[in-house]
């Protein structure tokens, strides 16, 4: 296990993602993203505009982004498991059908 603590602060990792869900980042995909983010030790922030980041582990804050389909969002993670977190979170955010939405009627 990698050493932890302030002396091993890592550079945050970022990735820009385009929202592919045809309904945008609405309640259920926001909840799924936050739930996944919460499984990682790393901090997760999401923003459209760098000046207004939201906590990626808080689904209600994610709703404040009002991200329509096609919106570019940046995910920034920092911590020991940042690389894994970024891959997983980018995948769920870019997916047209995030978990829980497969085959679901349009809400």
């Amino acid at each position: 296990m990698a050493p932890r603590g302030p002396e091993t602060v890592r550079e945050p990792m970022r990735r820009e993602i385009v929202i592919a869900n045809p309904q945008g980042l609405h309640m259920r995909p926001a909840a799924a993203f936050a739930e996944l983010a919460g499984r990682f030790e790393s901090s997760v922030i999401v923003f459209r505009d760098e000046a207004q980041p939201v906590d990626g582990k808080n689904w209600l804050e994610l709703l404040l982004l009002a991200a329509e389909p096609g919106t570019k969002l940046t995910v920034e993670v920092a911590g020991a498991d940042a690389a894994d977190a970024l891959d997983a979170l980018a995948e769920i955010l870019a997916s047209p059908t995030p978990p829980g939405e497969e085959g679901a009627a349009q809400e």
Binding site: G24, M27, L64, L65, A66, G100, Q106, E107
Partner: protein, 159 residues
């Protein structure tokens, strides 16, 4: 869209819900919206079913005694909403297990995801204000509720 009063239909506000079950309050709210003549062409039950189907995918009870039941339905031409208050509390399977006292119900056309997302943002942003939630819960009349919504300017709290 920056104020709840831009999509909440004033005449459809329910200052004191009579119903006390999840489906009951949803039906009461949809009926109140229907009473304003907004979706005369379509069936009340159909919209209630759409909202209940959405609830089955995961409760829209967001915690802190607030719920945002919603559905997309082409019976409306633009996004419409109403707000209702329960004095008794409604079991809603909320994320924090608490009963719901403040409900904002949204119905939007299927092809307008942006309007729905902006309305959701607006409700969530407004409801972060504990003072507003407390004052809504104390409101007695439709006008009380409307005045609180008009006063609320969530765009100003982006600090």
């Amino acid at each position: 869209m920056c104020r709840m009063s831009e999509f909440v239909v004033r005449e459809a506000i329910v200052p004191e819900l009579a119903e006390t079950t999840k489906e009951g309050v949803i039906r009461e709210m949809v009926r109140s919206l229907q009473g304003t003549g907004l979706f005369t062409g379509c069936d009340l039950d159909e919209i209630v079913r759409a909202i209940m189907r959405r609830e089955q995918l995961g409760s829209t009870g967001i915690g802190r005694n607030i719920a945002i039941p919603h559905a997309k339905h082409d019976g409306v031409e633009k996004l419409v909403g109403t707000i209702a208050l329960s004095k008794k509390g409604v079991p809603f399977d909320s994320i924090d297990g608490q009963q719901v006292f403040v409900l904002v119900l949204l119905i939007s056309p299927k092809d307008r995801p942006g309007d729905h997302l902006r309305a959701l943002e607006n409700v969530v942003r407004s409801m972060r204000n504990d003072d507003l939630v407390r004052e809504l819960r104390q409101a007695q009349t439709r006008d009380d509720v409307w005045n609180l919504l008009q006063r609320d300017t969530p765009a100003a709290d982006k600090s």
